[in-house]
Symmetry: C2
Subunit: 491 residues, 2 copies
């Protein structure tokens, strides 16, 4: 085998994950959802990417609203890496083909045209890093020859929720940990159960994992052949990103992005390329899950003798086969079976295991009602930390505000509310009108209406304050920002 080519992982991080409500929300979707072990899928995916050999840079394509959250996730990862993180930020979701086209063009512009681009969705779970790395090595070697490579997973059951790839002639045999590779004959969409059963019996069908490997040059050539419209719309975007001020944070312009067809890489390229015999399948021998429903999350915890599992303070009386995610409250079950119960500070889900696909209908219903619980958690992430609304009532609102070391809220004022700040942990540097001073735990300060103010944490410990807002209008939009470290001041 030829020396291994360098890898350029490209993490695609998006997707609402509405079937994982209420832990997954529009503003904190599936990649950011903590799994039962406390780690998010994004952190796991990034760890997988950075741990591969010969990785100089990792490109992450995500929504611009998730930029700070994503950067924080990477910063919190254990095991430092020298690889560079590059962010391509989308103004809105536009499916996978535009993301891959823009990402590949940017890679070429940076001189990575013959690296192997490894496309990794951010919401997949793979636990066997060694088998994964072996499959990536196999795929990279094939991709270096110009092939478009997909990762197929050997089915363990007749799953109707995934697409399949029919494997044709053997290209490379398996060898030690290295899995075999085949020519992909065709891609097939999610099958009916009878068909899925047949695929499982026949043995030469694999689940389409949604992961790919190819050189930027090869995939751009494939776009030129099979989806020239996507490529034509992607080129000016990549060109604009090439001349952006930052080389690490590339923000796609909304108007240009809207001009790119909304289409998946499977439809735009892979299906047609497979017909043309251009696609190889590496048949991975690793466990793989797209964590597509609560069933998949529940499977990550070990059940007791009654088939009950979960986390948090649970009381189970005459209960069987039930998964309970309890956060800070007691969840008691009596005489029930085969339920999934997910408790969060502002919403609780009770679903039967056989109907977990319909959890997304709850999100649709909440959206239709204009209820925030489809979108926001009670704790809201901000570039500088997070806030949690503890109580809201006519005339007042109470928040717990946490500010990270070195972080700072914008210099701002409010027209219609005053704020009482009580510092309960850390040291606050406060700007209050013309004065600037430190406030320590068990001290407080008062910010009148129409007064410029700023909250900063210049210490090395987290800062926690309790804010009591008083006023006749307490909406988040009553804010005038004067200076902001995170570019949130009006132009």
């Amino acid at each position: 085998m030829s020396p291994s080519p360098s890898l350029l992982p490209m993490i695609l991080s998006g997707g609402a994950g509405t079937r994982l409500w209420p832990l997954s929300r529009e503003a904190a979707p599936k990649p950011f959802m903590p799994l039962p072990d406390g780690e998010t899928l994004l952190a796991k995916t990034a760890a997988r990417a950075f741990a591969l050999r010969d990785v100089d840079a990792v490109i992450t394509i995500t929504n611009r609203d998730y930029y700070f959250h994503t950067k924080d996730t990477y910063a919190a990862m254990t095991g430092a890496t020298s690889a560079q993180a590059i962010y391509v930020l989308e103004p809105f979701g536009r499916n996978t083909a535009p993301a891959v086209a823009v990402g590949a063009l940017c890679a070429i512009a940076r001189g990575f045209g013959e690296h192997v681009l490894l496309v990794m969705p951010a919401d997949h779970l793979i636990r066997d890093q060694r088998a994964f790395a072996a499959a990536v090595d196999r795929a990279a070697a094939l991709a270096a020859t110009g092939a478009l490579v997909t990762f197929g997973i050997t089915p363990t059951h007749p799953e109707t929720g995934f697409g399949y790839i029919e494997c044709g002639e053997l290209l490379v045999s398996d060898e030690g940990h290295a899995p075999p590779a085949y020519r992909a004959r065709r891609f097939v969409e999610k099958p009916q159960l009878a068909v899925a059963r047949e695929y499982l019996t026949q043995g030469h069908y694999a689940w389409n994992s949604g992961m790919f490997a190819f050189t930027p040059n090869a995939i751009i050539a494939a776009f030129a052949r099979h989806a020239p419209g996507v490529l034509a719309a992607a080129r000016p975007i990549a060109q604009a990103l090439g001349s952006a001020a930052s080389i690490q944070m590339l923000e796609i312009d909304a108007a240009s992005f809207a001009a790119v067809p909304d289409i998946s890489i499977d439809y735009a390229i892979m299906e047609r390329a497979a017909e043309a015999g251009e696609v190889a399948v590496v048949r991975g021998a690793f466990d793989w899950s797209d964590v597509g429903s609560w069933q998949a999350v529940a499977a990550l915890t070990i059940a007791d003798d009654d088939g009950n599992h979960g986390q948090g303070e649970r009381v189970a009386i005459a209960t069987r086969g039930t998964y309970v995610h309890a956060a800070d409250r007691v969840v008691a079950t009596v005489g029930v079976e085969n339920l999934v119960i997910v408790d969060t500070p502002d919403a609780v889900l009770i679903a039967h295991r056989d109907h977990l696909q319909r959890v997304k209908d709850v999100v649709g219903e909440l959206k239709a009602r204009g209820h925030d619980a489809y979108k926001l958690h009670r704790t809201v992430s901000r570039p500088w930390g997070a806030y949690t609304v503890l109580e809201e009532a006519p005339g007042f609102k109470i928040k717990r505000i946490e500010v990270r070391p070195g972080a700072s809220l914008s210099l701002q004022l409010h027209h219609r509310r005053s704020e009482h700040w009580v510092i309960v942990r850390g040291v606050a540097r406060v700007t209050n009108g013309d004065r600037e001073f430190d406030v320590h735990p068990n001290e407080s300060t008062y910010i009148p209406v129409e007064t410029r103010h700023r909250l900063e944490n210049r210490a090395s410990e987290p800062l926690v304050i309790i804010e009591v807002q008083c006023g006749d209008y307490l909406g988040e939009d009553d804010i005038v920002r004067f200076e902001d470290k995170y570019g949130r001041t009006p132009a």
Copy 2:
């Protein structure tokens, strides 16, 4: 018929109501639990008692911990009454016979020996006041002749959760709204289903409602005949209460009360008296429920076409026959049926309708674990109002405190915590060290450790403050009380 005797309703308010967890808690049991219409069973029972004709006084026998809450409930009742409320406070629960004996002796001591004592458990629901009043009239007339009268309810289904009374010879026929009365032949305990079905078919069995009518003189004579031990132990208690300082609030001494046998009025008196032919049954024609389980609560709301009912923010997808009590969070159900779901700020119950009797096992389990959720709600009632813990973490605790007009917390100090008070509604009269001053909405004050302080509401509107406590120890027991309107200062 002879002129109607005067009535002396005696409300027995106790009982944990563990089958109604998590809305019913040890510190806020079933009589205090709001029903779907927002009113409590205690309020409904008191309204029923005060609305009867010829009522000069109402005796309430309850635990001393519920005294202020009970008094507040009566004070909040619509429709003023001139009847006097007398409270007999138990140090702990001791079943119904001791309560009735002590209550009857007190009534005799007050000169009510020939009034008709109407024993009413505080956790029953009766919606037809007119039919109830007619039955009470019938019972009072019989009681005035010296009979011990029970209220039997005509069964509507073969209930196995109630005791039954077998009716013998007809004593008085029904007449207009007035129901018939029979001699009680015997009391039978909760039957098996087959037996309950037979009772329903035979037609001369009635549910034992737990309500009674008799003169104090008659029931004390019956105690002397059938339960002299109870009477002997009750006499010194009644004597002590007769010489108490207050004539409205009579607190039973714990040591004396422990000497009274723990036995129900049914076992101690009624069963034996029925054998002796001394008991009459008024067969009430009113609807009656002891609201003994979530099934009974659910039955109070109207179901939609899918059999779903409840209150609060609910999303029901592919859901049938399910009752949801949602408080301040969204409760979403997917693909479930025949569940009862009760959501509270610190606990959520998911139970199958066929297993609602086992909800009490959850309480047992929580108690065994030492978890507070069996006992306390997140909002705790106090003589002066209520407080709610919004958040608690090492070093700080946040409470919303509501003080009723005219009420006042004790003059107190804390050794280990400081308090920041932000007034968000009403006007606070604050004592802070040597100073006394008013604090208005959007103003704050700071109470250092070891500083005497007091919070009062001298206005006519409710006062709401947000209290942020800071300190290394934040237990409720770090309090030194100097003056207290509610007798909570150490002797």
